[in-house]
Amino acid sequence: MTSTISSTNKNLAKLYKWAFGRNRALMIVFAVLMMVGIVIDIQALITISNSGTSTETINDAPTATVGYVSMFIAQLGAVFFSIASAIHTFGFLHNKRSTDMFGAVPATRSTLYFSHLLGGITAVTIPFTVGSFIVMALTCRSTQCFRIELGFILMGIITIVAVYSFTALIAYCCGTSLDSVIIAFGANGIYMGVVAIFIALAYSMIPGLAGSNQFFNTPFMTLFAPAGFSAFFDIYCTLGQMTAMWATVIWSILFTAGMILLGNYAAKTRKAETAQNEFNIKWLPIVIKAGISVLAGGLSGMAAVSGQESSFSNVFIFAFWYIITGFAAFIILHLVFSRGTKVKLLPSLLAYAGTTAAALGLLFAMTTGMGIDTYIPAESNISSVVFQYDHMEYKDPENIKTIIEIHKLMTEGTLKNTPRPYYMGIGRNDYYSYYESEDCVSKYPLSFSSNFSFKYNKKFGFTTERCYYLHCGKLSLSPYDYEKIEALLRKLYNSDEYKKLSNPELWEENFVERISQFPVVADMDITGYSGKTERYYPTGNINLKTDEKFLKGLVDALKKDILADKEYYKSRIMRDSVYAGDRCYCLSIGYGESLGNTIIRETVRIQVSETYTNTLNYLRNNGYASELDNPSFSVDDSDYTDDDSDYPDDI
């Protein structure tokens, strides 16, 4: 037994050396390209340095970005070279003469498989890893950057192994290298492409999905497309989507293990006589043909419909082009795979028809009976909700309930007046939300202040996202109950949680102490507003003291007033608002940190109304009474220009 294992290991080592040698040329090409990339990186770093942007900061964003981009490109290169190398390495399976040679070599099928797999993987991994570490050394200044780029490198290596083992399996399933190339490049692209087409179709038909990023931005996209593992990992990593990132890592490892096991099984069972001949797995070309046909049909169908108004006739235009192009792609691929018309067309044709029917059936079901259009997660399953454009994350159960109610009003409104299956509109599907008159903003200022985006963070890291676009005028369709929606929004924006989320710095435990320690002293001013007109104009500034004691008293008074504010929702509407008249001052607390030549500056701005008695009294008691009440505080309206910069920024 021991001698058998030892002999197997010896043979593995000998064949590994051989396979590695066979990949030497590819390895050198990849290494040269990596070196060229590094030279470009150095050039970019010199440019950054010459542009005066300081790299001696805690924030190494410019140089780190160069590193991230380089590594992303290197990963893509590694994917390409992995596929090319695997096809080249396992090409011996597709030639009768080389099959004779390797079949007769004193080694088992498993030994042949593992030696070639390891030899090829090493040849791709060495230039990628060495090059990436050089990039990391050149571009990282902070621990965070090192951590991210190290993650990129490790995920790049996992992706190389995943793509290599996946391509090796394909090589074992194919009779010729040409088929392997088509399937290896196709399988990755087809999966992502077909999934993307279906998601885009769902987006184009189901209200609320468009603009939500749901599905496009999940590991689902690369489930069976290893070429996309590292790219999606990078996206999740840089966006800080840790659940998706770790899901990608775990799935990549499981997928790779599965591919290696299947590859070993295919190596043991592959019939040598299939070389230069036929597919070792009969259903593989059928699946690929069906996949590429769906992809080609879907792309041409979407192209035919894109840029047009949402309408039900788009569904038929899409279906027409889907069938025409899909079928053409199917026939071409069939001829390529069968090298003529020898192979029976009927099974493949049935598979294509079946796939198309299933796909269109699924789409029809999605837009009618499956409930995706009206789906809202159960309250008990939601840990938090990110609502609307300002990305505030609500965790208070009462607020979550309110947001769910708003969402329900939208889905119910959509169902009430619109036909199903829905119209089709590529890009987004927002024709249900038009409000009948053009006074929507003045009537429902909170509702029409932004689009309605919902991101429900559920248990175990799952998320559900929807986004509804609202428009004034045009159509007479008015499915949403804006009265109720507006009332719920008022409730939400009057909640203590919203108040704290809208000015989180004020509720930081040591906010005053923190900003007082900055070398650039905090500056404060209070701007008066004209509350007499519909628009509210800045009327002048009072510069306030910035000592810690004064600041602390002011912040405490402000917090008390904000929590007591019964109409806090009004401060959300900053411009063109019917509420503007109530807000008479804007208090700005500015603070900053000097970093070399750069000053990083933050400002907290709070709308102050006459009801903020604690704040106004505190200012009056601290020597600002006359300035607050002095008429000279006002400025002439004629000086006002309609420039956005005169207004405080959105909170």
Binding site: T4, S7, T8, N11, K14, W18, R22, N95, K96, R97, S98, T99, D100, M101, G103, A104, V105, P106, A107, T108, R109, T111, K271, A272, E273
Partner: protein, 300 residues
């Protein structure tokens, strides 16, 4: 000892070998002959472990060769079109095989390099078909295998090299007790080098014998008879074919030579001569016996 046990191999609907069985004696040079598409190359690939039989097995000392690296170290297979990578040289191929064959003989390799007109550093794929075959054989002979399988090894070789190769094969057999199996249509060359032959047709064994025995078991007799022969006079003889040219009759008859001579003499021929058969003639006769002859092919 190499045993072929009930091997069946199908390629799709086509049966290449069907329940094939025979034994190759240790240290023999076994000529595998047969019609085109009879399954000779398939059989060699099964013995070499390239193909897996659908049923049955090729066994050396009662152990199957398939997926058995230890046994494969004792075997070397040269296919009808030996394979070499684009950049491979005799040197690089030798270094590849050297590691797999414990019995590799470096001195022999060097000697062969001096005998054959092939430079060690030359790219093999740029060489002629015959030169490539020589390169493959140099590697095979240097590996000193216990079992050597050669598929159409004489193809594309000039007569001098063919002689040389036959000599080297005989040397290997005598020095190393190697069992050699040669599949070929070149029966003239096989006749010189083989001591056993196996004839396969349509995936089955037609004949498997010692070459001398095979040649002695079939005879050609030319005879001229004074009178017309009566019906059934040679019923006791296993006549494979009879050809008549004028009064001269040529019989191909299987069986013991003496018995055949006696039976012919009993009909009082004016002239009679027993002629020796070449392997090619034996092959044709045997194939005629199973219905594979020119007349049959043309009739189709």
């Amino acid at each position: 000892m190499l045993e072929i046990k009930n091997i069946t191999k199908k390629f799709g609907d086509k049966t290449a070998l069907e329940n094939l069985s025979f034994t190759v004696p240790e240290g023999s040079v076994f000529g595998l002959i047969g019609s085109n598409g009879s399954g000779k190359s398939t059989l060699l690939r099964i013995i070499a472990g390239v193909f897996k039989p659908d049923s049955g097995s090729a066994e050396i000392d009662e152990v199957s060769t398939y997926e058995n690296p230890a046994l494969k170290e004792k075997c070397f297979f040269i296919s009808d079109y030996p394979y070499f990578y684009n950049h491979s040289t005799l040197d690089s191929m030798a270094s590849f095989y050297r590691e797999f064959y414990p019995s590799w003989n470096e001195a022999k390799f060097e000697k062969l390099c001096s005998i054959f007109p092939i430079k060690k550093k030359d790219r093999i794929v740029n060489m002629s078909k015959g030169m490539q075959r020589q390169a493959a054989l140099m590697i095979a002979l240097s590996a000193c295998p216990k079992y050597l399988m050669l598929d159409e090894i004489f193809d594309g070789l000039d007569p001098v090299v063919r002689q040389l190769i036959k000599k080297l094969i005989m040397e290997l057999v005598s020095d190393n007790k190697t069992t050699v199996i040669i599949a070929s249509h070149n029966l003239r060359e096989l006749e010189d080098v083989c001591d056993h032959i196996g004839l396969i047709h349509k995936g089955g064994v037609v004949m498997e014998k010692d070459l001398d025995e095979a040649k002695l078991g079939i005879h050609r007799v030319q005879a001229v008879f004074e009178n017309e022969l009566g019906e059934g006079v040679f019923n006791d003889l296993d006549i494979v074919s009879v050809k008549k040219q004028g009064r001269m009759m040529t019989f191909t008859i299987k069986g013991d030579g003496q018995a055949i001579e006696q039976a012919i003499q009993a009909q009082k021929p004016i002239y009679m001569e027993m002629l020796p058969l070449t392997l090619e003639e034996v092959f044709i006769s045997e194939m005629e016996a199973v219905g594979y002859d020119i007349d049959n092919i043309l009739d189709k």
